[in-house]
C-alpha cells in the first residue's frame, strides 16, 4: 500500500474506534462546554464510603474534577472505615453553608444515614442545602427527611440499586445545565441502556427490567432546579 494511504488508514481506524466507544458509552459529548452561571455562589461536598479500593479510586477520578470545575469550592471525602470523616465532613459543611447560598451534597455511599451528621446544624444554615443526591440502596425514603431538614431537592434509589450507572449520567447532565427532572430522566434512560447492554452481553444472566425496578431513581422537591439557580 502507498505510504499516504497507509497513514490515512492507520489514523482513521482509531478515530472510528473512538466513535464506537463513545456510542457504546451512550452519552453525548460536552466538548468545550461552559460552566453554568453562578459558580461563585455555590459549593459542593461529596463523600465516598469504605468500599474496595477500585471503587474509591474510580469515584474520586470521576467526581473530583467535575466538582472543582462547576463549584466555587468543593470538598471530597473518602472514608477509611464506617463513621470515618464525620468531624471533617460536618466542619466542611458548616463552612460551606456559612459562605455560600447554595450547597449541594453527593452522598456516594451504600445504604447510609449521613442525614444524622447534618441535622445538628442550625436551621438557617441547613436551609442553604440545595440538592442532595444519595446513591445508597433503599435510601429513596430519606427524601422527605432531607426536605424537612431544609434541602430543596433530593434524588435517591428505591432498592438494591446499581447507582453508579445512573450517577455517571446524572452528574454530567446536571452540571452541564439540565434541570433535575431532565437529568433524572437522562440518568434513568442511560442506566437502562447500560442494563440492556449487560443483559445482552451476559446472555440474560442480568435482567435489565429487574435491575431497573430496584435502581430507578426518583426526585422529590424542586424538580425544575438547575445548577445555575443559586438562591435556595
Amino acid at each position: 500500500m502507498r505510504p499516504g494511504k497507509a497513514l490515512a488508514v492507520s489514523l482513521l481506524l482509531p478515530c472510528l474506534l473512538y466513535g464506537s466507544v463513545v456510542l457504546l458509552a451512550g452519552d453525548r459529548l460536552f466538548v468545550f462546554s461552559k460552566t453554568p452561571p453562578g459558580r461563585e455562589s455555590r459549593a459542593a461536598l461529596a463523600i465516598r464510603d469504605d468500599v474496595i479500593p477500585f471503587f474509591k479510586w474510580g469515584t474520586l477520578l470521576f467526581t473530583r474534577q467535575y466538582l472543582r470545575k462547576h463549584y466555587a469550592e468543593s470538598w471530597y471525602f473518602t472514608q477509611a472505615s464506617k463513621g470515618d470523616c464525620r468531624e471533617e465532613f460536618a466542619s466542611a459543611l458548616k463552612q460551606a453553608l456559612e459562605n455560600y447560598p447554595a450547597v449541594d451534597l453527593y452522598l456516594l455511599a451504600h445504604t447510609n444515614h449521613y442525614i444524622r451528621w447534618v441535622k445538628d446544624l442550625p436551621e438557617e444554615l441547613r436551609s442553604r442545602i440545595r440538592f442532595v443526591y444519595n446513591t445508597g440502596c433503599h435510601n429513596e425514603p430519606q427524601g422527605k427527611d432531607w426536605l424537612a431538614l431544609g434541602a430543596d431537592a433530593y434524588i435517591g434509589h428505591p432498592g438494591v440499586s446499581e447507582s453508579p450507572f445512573f450517577y455517571f449520567f446524572l452528574l454530567r447532565h446536571w452540571l452541564h445545565g439540565a434541570t433535575l427532572e431532565e437529568a433524572l430522566a437522562l440518568g434513568n434512560d442511560g442506566m437502562h441502556l447500560k442494563f440492556r447492554q449487560l443483559e445482552w452481553t451476559t446472555f440474560g444472566r442480568f435482567q435489565a427490567e429487574a435491575l431497573m425496578k430496584e435502581s430507578r431513581a426518583s426526585v422529590v422537591g424542586d424538580v425544575g432546579l438547575r445548577l445555575g439557580d443559586t438562591a435556595p
Binding site: 488508514v9 470521576f62 474534577q65
Partner: protein, 107 residues
C-alpha cells in the same frame, strides 16, 4: 531478522496493553489499600496523567505498527495482524483516552 522487525511491532503494541491493565490493578490499592502509599491529594493527578500517557503511547504504537504493516508487508499478512493486534490495542487505548477526557471534564 531486521527485515521482519516491523512484524513484531503489532504484537508489541498489544503486549503494551498489559501495562495500563497492571496500572488499573495496582493504582487503586496504592492509593486506597490498607497501607496507602500515595497521598489522596495526588491520586487524581497521578492517575489521570498515567492513564493519558498509556492511552497516547498505546495509540502511537498501534498506529506505527499498522502503518509499517500496510507499507512493508503483503496484504494477507498485514490485515490479519492489524485485526488481531492493532484493533484490540486501539480499542483499549481509545477507551482509556475517553476516560481521561471525561475525568478532565473536556468531553
Amino acid at each position: 531478522m531486521k527485515r521482519y522487525a516491523h512484524l513484531l511491532l503489532a504484537p508489541a503494541a498489544l503486549l503494551f496493553q498489559t501495562l495500563p491493565g497492571a496500572f488499573l490493578y495496582f493504582a487503586p490499592t496504592l492509593a486506597f489499600g490498607k497501607k496507602p502509599i500515595m497521598p489522596e491529594s495526588w491520586v487524581w493527578s497521578v492517575s489521570v496523567m498515567s492513564l493519558a500517557l498509556f492511552a497516547l503511547a498505546g495509540l502511537a504504537l498501534a498506529c506505527a505498527a499498522s502503518y509499517l504493516l500496510l507499507t512493508r508487508s503483503r496484504r494477507f499478512v498485514a490485515i490479519p495482524l492489524i485485526f488481531l493486534c492493532c484493533v484490540p490495542a486501539w480499542l483499549l487505548s481509545v477507551f482509556y483516552l475517553h476516560g481521561v477526557l471525561v475525568f478532565l471534564v473536556w468531553v
